[in-house]
């Protein structure tokens, strides 16, 4: 079923297609499978949200796209295609050409993600010169332009400042300027607003949306915040314990969830506009990889679980790019966000 994900993108070939991705980490428990059969695609100009709680494997997924997992202590299987080109077989040097040029990434901690020993400008210049082969002067002018573009006031002066002279929000803007400096086709944003205050988060979300539109860029947005997903994502991939459990458009996943975990997340999520609805917690916690159940991984915490839920369960296609991993998806009448 997973290999059909790509086929269903009939109108345009996807920018990123992940197919049967599995990742194992070396640990004191031996090789641990932390990702299993992860498949989804990001279409052109699409923003796809990768959602889940800590331990769901969403960050591992995003790091494996760029081949940034530690090489010696991890094993990756499955296909990762960037505009039809398989990334898995690339040499390190070839992969380095893709990183930053075609796929860029921004991270959660703007405080630590920029090098403290170099100016913001130098960091952008290095990347631009590396990928586009421009002169120092051109690259610097471009850096100033990019900083202005992402809304940093006074870019001509700030280009030669160090990260510690920037506030958290400004640093994330600078990080975005760095990431977008070579106009990548795909931006992977790994919880880019989690460490920021809400008013700054709003600024950054708008900025990412704007930049994506301007540059015809696709975005893979990793987050645990359903509000952020509702705000910025066209499509949603819900992950749980290293697997994709549901996929669909934002509308579908939020309004007519088909997986009990998605329903659980929606019911647990507080809503600033709605106080009437009671918050219903999902019992328990995400199991660590060495305690993943053999059957449905959510069964232990699921209020709808039956005996057959102890059996392994596959991702079922419900329609074009709409899928769910649940034994009982066709019997359950789940409640969506209202």
């Amino acid at each position: 079923m997973s290999d059909s994900t790509a086929r269903q993108l009939d109108e345009a070939s996807p920018v990123l297609a992940i197919d049967g991705l599995g990742v194992e980490f070396a640990s004191e428990h031996g090789w641990l499978r932390v990702l299993d059969e992860v498949s989804f695609a990001v279409g052109p100009r699409e923003t796809v949200g990768l959602v889940g709680e800590s331990g769901s494997g969403k960050s591992v997924t995003s790091l494996s796209v760029l081949g940034l997992l530690p090489r010696r202590s991890s094993r990756v299987v499955g296909d990762i295609r960037l505009r039809g080109r398989e990334l898995g077989g690339l040499s390190t040097a070839e992969l380095e050409d893709v990183r930053g040029r075609e796929i860029a990434m921004i991270f959660q901690e703007p405080m630590t993600s920029l090098n403290p020993a170099f100016t913001i400008g130098d960091q952008i210049v290095a990347v631009v010169r590396r990928h586009l082969g421009w002169t120092k002067k051109q690259a610097r002018a471009h850096a100033i332009e990019m900083l202005g573009h992402v809304g940093i006031p006074n870019p001509r002066q700030r280009v030669s400042e160090y990260p510690h002279q920037f506030s958290g929000g400004m640093r994330q803007r600078a990080m975005i300027a760095l990431a977008l400096s070579c106009r990548p086709r795909l931006l992977i944003a790994d919880e880019p607003t989690t460490a920021l205050d809400v008013t700054i988060q709003a600024q950054i979300l708008d900025l990412i949306r704007e930049m994506a539109e301007e540059n015809d860029m696709s975005v893979l947005f990793v987050t645990h915040d359903l509000g952020v997903v509702a705000d910025i994502c066209d499509r949603v991939v819900v992950m749980y314990a290293g697997q994709v459990v549901e996929e669909g458009t934002a509308e579908e996943v939020f309004c007519t969830p088909r997986h009990p975990y998605t329903e659980g997340l929606l019911r647990a999520m507080p809503d600033v506009e709605d106080h009437v609805r009671e918050l219903v917690p999902i019992p328990g916690t995400v199991p660590p990889p060495w305690e993943f159940p053999a059957g449905c991984r959510f069964a232990d915490r699921c209020s709808y679980a039956q005996d057959r839920c102890r059996q392994p369960v596959a991702l079922t296609e419900l329609g074009p790019r709409r899928a769910v991993r649940c034994h009982r998806f066709d019997e359950l009448d789940l409640e969506g966000a209202s």
Binding site: L68, R72, M105, N115, P116, A117, A126
Partner: protein
């Protein structure tokens, strides 16, 4: 930069006070009477009194300190208890010897330690890391005098490339200087090399795990640039710190190495004077080495302000 320098110099005032006071107090912690040390146990009270008068031992402690410290700027460190030669003259021709030995050892240490540390950090778990780590662990544990002795036994006594003992000043012959300094510098510098390699490996390993290194890699910068430029500049601060510390211990290490290789420097002088209990000379040696250490620390501090933009940009 100059502001940093001035601020550092100001904070050094209490340090210099404690250091000189400590050095001075050595004489007065001594059980028994230095005058008797000079004269031997069975001298007449009159002669003891005369010597005490000459050494200024009858004055109050504070004025003795004031007396002694006021001589320091003009390099007047008193006279030897035995030879009546001014301490300054005794030290003068030995200081360059010890400094050149220390510098050569530091050179050896950096030359071996830095590449070894970088190679080990960038190839964790591989054979090159293992070799470097084992070498560094052994190097830290091996006493310099064992290495020195073995070098003498195997390289100096059995062949004539390197002399076993003695020191040729650089002004006499650069080649002979290099020959005479190589073995002692290697013996003295090996532990420092090991320590530098260990610390640099650790620092670089932890820098390589920082988020900004991940950013640099995510942006497609070449692996060697990520390590050689992005990571190394951040690892320089701990590296400079270690090198600064190493100067301190190298300077101490000269005491033994000069003894083994028969080099007439401060170290071998110190050993002799300790056994003779010639306190003014020992004081002079201690003072000189402390000043060298303080000067090195000052350089290290200034390098921090160059390396760490947080210090540089207010």
């Amino acid at each position: 930069m100059s502001r940093v320098l001035v601020r550092r110099l100001l904070t050094m005032i209490p340090l210099l006070f404690f250091v000189t006071l400590g050095t001075f107090m050595l004489t007065h912690l001594i059980p028994g009477d230095p005058a008797i040390t000079v004269l031997g146990d069975n001298s007449t009270p009159e002669r003891v009194e005369a010597v005490r008068e000459r050494l200024g031992l009858n004055e109050p402690l504070l004025s003795q300190y004031a007396d002694w410290i006021s001589g320091v700027p003009s390099l007047d460190l008193g006279t030897s208890l035995f030879s009546s030669e001014p301490v300054r003259d005794t030290l003068a021709n030995r200081i360059p010897v010890t400094l050149s030995l220390t510098a050569a050892a530091l050179f050896v240490a950096v030359l071996i330690g830095v590449p070894a540390g970088i190679l080990a950090a960038t190839n964790p778990g591989r054979w090159i890391d293992r070799v470097a780590t084992i070498g560094a662990t052994l190097g830290v544990a091996a006493p310099s005098y064992l290495i020195g002795s073995l070098l003498i036994a195997w390289l100096a006594l059995k062949s004539s490339i390197f002399p076993a003992t003695g020191y040729v000043p650089m002004e006499e012959s650069v080649v002979d200087w290099a020959r005479s300094i190589t073995l002692p510098a290697v013996a003295l510098g090996s532990a420092a090399a090991a320590e530098i390699a260990r610390q640099l490996r650790g620092a670089l390993r932890s820098v390589l795990q920082e988020d900004y290194v991940r950013t640099a890699r995510a942006m497609g910068l070449r692996g060697r640039i990520v390590v050689g430029k992005y990571a190394l500049k951040n690892a320089m601060i701990p590296l400079v710190t270690v090198i600064g510390f190493q100067v301190t211990s190298l300077l101490g290490g000269t005491v033994i190495i000069e003894q083994i290789f028969g080099i007439q420097g401060l170290g071998s002088l110190a050993v002799r004077k300790v056994l003779e209990q010639d306190i003014p000379v020992v004081q002079g040696i201690v003072l000189v080495s402390v000043f060298v250490v303080i000067a090195v620390n000052l350089v290290v501090d200034l390098m921090y302000s160059y390396l760490d933009p947080k210090v540089r940009v207010r």
